[in-house]
Symmetry: D2
Subunit: 315 residues, 4 copies
């Protein structure tokens, strides 16, 4: 997975959702092993996944959850469609939006604002109040919107982008921190080819995608009981349509604990029996560093005691 | 466990709740291995258990459930108090009560009726209608009540007893089949020292006693989910007080399936974590010979598939 | 219901499980309205119920739960079979057993001990240790066992009875407080004809008997959810066979709260839809005087808010 | 709400997500009352909602669910943020995508394809296979992408749009039905100001948004039980972040039945107690015309019986 054959060095390559200057770059900066590696910006989540699958990149960093807009649908769906990909880490990045423009442009000149739709939604309140008659030009990323301002024929006069954007482009800040939610965060994941999970730390998370067996009532309750009965708490549950017809769903779930925890292991096996398709996405340390406890006597020690007791019974 | 040292033969001894002529004797007659063995009547359930624990008897047959009066409390409580006892089989006996008396006594002479309280409850309707002014004398068994009629100083003129009683005592039948419930049955169990369960047949039952962890609300729901999540159906659930203070219970449960079934094994281990005390009473063939199926993809094959899948994940 | 026509006074009559000197008498003494009324001992629970149904007695006091032996089956089954009876109060009586005998009899003279089977079970440990070779003579009540000692032809030399027995009979105490469980209690209920429940106190209990709709798996879980979803905790749940065939049960349940509480009202109506037969036995103050709280925002005020909100929706 | 003051007629105005030629226009064509009314295309879902809130339009038709991309996030979030809006109907539109271009452009000329990101995701497979080197230009709608082709300075050579687009613009079809999912549908809703729901038909749906009370484990299970215990099936459940911080969700739910059904009424009130915020979005006939049955004896008749029984109890 090192890129020696391609560029003569032994450096690992990390793909990330580009272009330079986006929030994803800030997430990649949190990966210790990525220091000094090749950073490879890509155009979309699927390209990042493809880079990993083809061996072009050892790992990739992509957004998966945004505290305002919810699951990044493209990521959830791309993961569901990609066998052989695992998550190896997660990173939280505070979301701070600035309004930027070319030098010389002042706020009263701004008629059209370019940005990514998510960023637009998060700054819509400020923009309506302060640029009431503006037009909106959707862009594929906040960085692309910012970069576009430098083109000769740019339609937009300003862009909403991450605060780091001015490190990369000759733009100036018209207004700072214009997002509606001051505590907004985006969660990013580091993905790689399927392999051994990072060692359990006691502060871990396990991600799975679970297809519902049918649309009969009570199915979701049954699925949740697979976790509850082993004392496993969920930190995230998001539904996504399977896509073949209306009314069929899969659930993207983050459960507290590690695949090497007995409670998680038993829950995963129970889910495999319950569901027509369970996709294990990996176990990795929690970004918030909180403990992953299995409630109700479901620790590894208590699983061990139960095994010992059980073995003593039928002989 | 053979009784050679006591009576010179190599015959096994079977204790049963006596005296001769009770329903329990009819249950013992259903045990193929008991044919030609020593049949040892005992005075109460505890004595039967003690015979097994001491090695006096290889096995014992005792009543455990009566379709009218419910669990035989003495048996349920004696089992809960006896470590080292297992159930090896169950037997159903139809309950048919006759009114019997000494020869020469006619129904109009009957002033006092002796019988076991359970039998009295089951024939009370008939007795009230046909012997309206009678007195009731409780006895420790229907057979003891019948035998007592032959004593010179018997207070009772008639007894309610099993239809087989007239095979043992010089009594005659005053009225046949006087029980209220014509389909009444009593269920009996064969107990022995803890050891390997009879082989799984696909039509099995597993009995456990489960102490509730606390009296907080929802505990019973949680306990039932330990079975439900593994597709294990219950054929009997009976509460009994633990006895140390009001409001604390243990549950006597018969679950469908065998300890060698993966679903039962996992449920037992889950219950061991959930409860302060689980007492495994054994796995044995069902008397009604119906299949013991684990619903919702919880067969052994499906447990095996889940294990295989799980093993493939983290490497 | 007053007994004027029978004894010339306007006094109310209270039936109670006799004879005099039993624990039930101590429970009746806890009923304030029974002071100065006629106290009428009866031979069994059914007679007490019949006294109420016929109008012979205004009320009756009978045992319903014993912390050691569990639900008094006869009471549970008699209530299930009697339409038109309600519970109006409950009373706790500490269970203290003494060994009593005729004056002049010393403990070394005791060969046969008479008592009720429940009392025998509770004192069996002490009796085995201190009267190792004794025989046991079952009696219909502890008081009957004690009274029997005074008969000329008494087979028993001693009786296990309530500590108050020596107030009624010329007997002396051979040993005090010989029960195994020092905190043992029996719970008694006051029953009467169906009518308005005692006013809600915030520390109430509601008793019901619920027949399970079928023996399909999950039925008990569904029944418990009828309570849980309205935040109603249960303080007692006991199964009893319905009696028509093995495997069919009804549950005797004490729920926290009063029929005038919105949470209890909605739960009762839900149970009525769920079950083929729900028998409401009444709402009455808790003997332990603890609060009856409906968890999870299910207070009357919160039910009221929800009603108001709902009414605002569809207009 | 009639638009007389604006255009001299008494015609009602229907806003819909424009521009002309989108799938939403096909949904509006399914609304019988919209025949002959003013059809007013708007730029985004929020504008449609605002038209209704201001009285500019009587009603609006907007997309809410797409069988491939899932809930239309903008709609779900706009509804959650708008008090006073109700759903009055739902409509299903088959999704058929064509590749269109200006006359004279052939498929081998196509370098850049414009379309809405959802449409792009649904036709990506076909485009990759047949236009392997193409660039993608995101547009705010499929119709806008198509219309843009006619601009002199259009960057794109082709657009992916609804099959009806060629009724509106001088474009020709390069390839027909290029979507991946041949049975793809989009679901649209008709919204208006809060008011009386359309009468119950027995084939109805009720939409709600339910905020989870906390992120403690088991909360989702508890919420689902509010429906299950009243026999109410769900046809859709989608999570959306509340947006104030990671880990807090609201659920968008479509339940089977009408607010005038007793089961739905009781479930709504239960949810109101359970959740810090329940938003009732309306009851309306199901587009699929299947019956809305409340399982487990939860019909209106059975609710009525339970009420009658309950009223008979405490008097």
């Amino acid at each position: 997975m090192a890129t020696k054959s391609r560029n003569g060095s032994a450096k690992k390559t990390y793909s990330y959702l580009g272009p330079v200057g986006t929030f994803t770059e800030l997430a990649l900066a949190q990966v210790p092993e990525a220091k000094g590696a090749n950073w490879h910006p890509v155009a979309n989540v699927q390209e990042a996944i493809d880079n990993v699958l083809s061996g072009h990149s050892a790992r990739a960093v992509i957004p998966i959850e945004n505290s305002i807009e919810g699951g990044v649908s493209a990521t959830l769906d791309a993961l569901a469609a990609s066998e052989g990909i695992r998550i190896f880490g997660e990173y939280l990045v505070p979301v701070t939006f600035n309004l930027v423009a070319r030098p010389g442009v002042s706020i009263k000149d701004v008629l059209t604002v370019a940005t990514h739709p998510v960023a637009y939604a998060q700054t819509h309140k400020w923009l309506s109040a302060n640029l009431s008659g503006h037009s909106y030009l959707p862009a594929t990323s906040t960085a692309a919107a910012a970069a576009g301002l430098l083109h000769a024929d740019s339609v937009a006069n300003a862009a909403v982008a991450a605060s780091t954007i001015t490190d990369h482009y000759a733009l100036k800040v018209l207004a700072k921190n214009i997002g509606e939610y001051k505590n907004a965060q985006t969660r990013f994941i580091q993905i790689g080819l399927a392999g051994k999970a990072p060692a359990a730390t006691g502060r871990d998370k396990t991600s799975v995608i679970i297809e519902m067996p049918t649309d009969r009532p009570g199915t979701l309750l049954e699925m949740l009981e697979q976790f509850a009965v082993r004392g496993v708490n969920l930190s995230r549950i998001e539904s996504r349509p399977i896509g073949d017809r209306l009314g069929r769903y899969r659930f993207n779930i983050d459960a507290q604990g590690h695949i090497d925890d007995a409670a998680i292991a038993e829950a995963l096996k129970g889910l495999h029996r319950f569901s027509p398709k369970v996709q294990y996405l990996g176990s990795y340390p929690r970004a918030d560093k909180e403990k992953s406890v299995h409630e109700g006597n479901n620790s590894d020690a208590q699983f061990g005691d139960a095994d010992k007791w059980f073995k003593s019974l039928n002989r």
